[in-house]
Symmetry: C2
Subunit: 172 residues, 2 copies
């Protein structure tokens, strides 16, 4: 059974919807994707690092549309491992695990990895929204479209914009 | 640079000293290593699973003697990754990361992995007290002596009883 690494923020977790919401609460302004195209999260939202370090933040993120059904189907076909660069924000660890339990209760604790470097994990496929994680991965790479990566040319990675596209690519 | 995976509980963290202490507080009885030789932690200490699920428990564990100096020296010679099966106990995640920061501040967040299965990590050497983690590892394996493993015959793994022995084995 092939092993597939699935990222959380920007793939399973719709972080931008939450960023836009918090930005509106703080500034009264409604941003759009085009306002922040090509900017990293911390460049687009000056308070992003503060939000990420706040207990409860990561548990409040909405689900990426289609991810519940998509991950369920992947989980029937692949050895699914959920991998998140969470050790940068220690407060995020329990929130992320509880968030996974809230939304994807079929994912067992044995399938979760919180780490600081994804390149040390052995797998066949990686789905991520950050090219820096995909670039050093030896297997098949799938780049999930997000504002921070939308201006980059990344011919090595297959780019998808939805979980429906992931299912079409990966499920026979 | 060779990558080495270093376990926390039973290798960096002297969990048995804390178990003996808690057992004495609860029952008034002083156990010895010989009382529990060959028993898994949860068999030796009926309250172990409860303790492990309690916030703060993992931050209260004393350091394994010699581990501070030993890990510092390994960190100068190897790509050290601290790996702990922590996702079984979500409350342990932040405690474990803060414990590492309390005692081994030279370990960066990029060097920490909390997971549910160590076999998915690529590395050259693994130090662990649980043969089940070492048995499926392809590289060099070092078994740290602990009461639960002391009656097992594990010829494939080099057995050590102290951090001084680890240094002798691994540092030129």
């Amino acid at each position: 059974m092939k092993r597939i690494l699935v990222d959380m923020d920007g793939v399973l977790a719709d972080v931008y919807t939450r960023y836009f919401e918090l930005h509106r609460e703080v500034t009264g302004q409604q941003m759009t994707v085009n306002d922040i195209a090509g900017l990293l999260e911390a460049e687009a939202f000056p308070l992003q690092l503060e939000w990420a370090a706040t207990p409860g933040f990561f548990r409040s993120i909405p689900l990426m549309p289609g991810s519940l059904n998509g991950l369920k189907r992947l989980n029937e076909t692949y050895d699914v491992i959920i991998v998140s660069l969470a050790t940068e924000f220690p407060n995020s660890l329990i929130d992320k695990q509880l968030w996974l339990h809230d939304h994807f209760s079929f994912i067992k604790w044995q399938q979760i990895v919180f780490c600081g470097n994804k390149n040390i994990i052995k797998a066949d496929v990686m789905i991520d929204d950050h090219p820096k994680n995909l670039d050093h991965f030896n297997g098949d790479t799938i780049l999930f479209n997000q504002p921070h990566n939308m201006l980059l040319t990344t011919p090595r990675h297959r780019r998808v914009s939805s979980w429906e596209e992931i299912e079409k690519l990966l499920i026979p």
